[in-house]
Symmetry: C2
Subunit: 107 residues, 2 copies
DNA sequence: CCAATTCATACCCCAATGGATATATGTTGA
DNA sequence: TCAACATATATCCATTGGGGTATGAATTGG
């Protein structure tokens, strides 16, 4: 199931990877070297995480000489925002679901 | 790193598990047997997924005789909603970040 | 009281994944 | 041209995790 939601959740489920994405959102674009400094893992691992983030559409990379500048693309988060909103929406239609359940069982 | 965000993302990253949660949001509470019917996996696997969803706070279970009724708790999604909103928020302060990057490199 | 039912737990297996190190590729500066 | 640098790729390893089957525990109906 190569679903968009699955890819997004899976990509963001790793703390190291999510931290990289957060830094790019907070502080703007950065090179691989700069990202490696505070990542707590080796440079190849950072590159691998960036590759996964890129495949998920969450970051994009631009080559400048021997450096690569990565920047966040938070628009890619919109499926997640939509999904969470939809789940909450479904729930609103049954706001008293728990009470109903308790009543049903209690009778 | 037992972070809340990590747990939520990880829990929702599995399609089978997310489908169970979605069904509970859409259709209200269900027993393990009812959930197993359309899950595509065996009952023990469904129970295991429910256990993980419960640990993440996304569902709650109530015993009624030999059945267990599970219901969704979409309020547990709020950290996700907050996180995505915050990431987008950070980004707004640098809406022209990509253009700046291109300009910087292009010069 | 016993058999069937419902769910949870235990155990095993295999694929996926995050990490490391080594190395390849490409780029700049002297 | 050549050495240093920046990044990507390759390979390996240990762990995680999702799936299955078998079985335990609890409850109900006859």
């Amino acid at each position: 199931m190569s679903d968009t939601h699955t890819i997004l959740f899976k990509t963001l489920s790793d703390p190291t990877r999510r931290a990289i994405f957060e830094r790019l959102c907070r502080e703007g674009d950065k090179t691989v070297g700069a990202l490696t400094e505070h990542a707590g893992v080796s440079q190849p691992v950072v590159s691998k995480h960036l590759r996964i983030l890129k495949q998920a559409g969450l970051v994009s990379g631009l080559h400048e000489g021997r450096q690569t500048h990565y920047s966040a693309q938070p628009d890619a988060l919109s499926p997640l925002r939509d999904w969470t909103a939809q789940m909450a929406e479904f729930w609103e239609g049954r706001f008293d679901a728990l009470e109903n359940l308790l009543k049903r069982i209690d009778q």
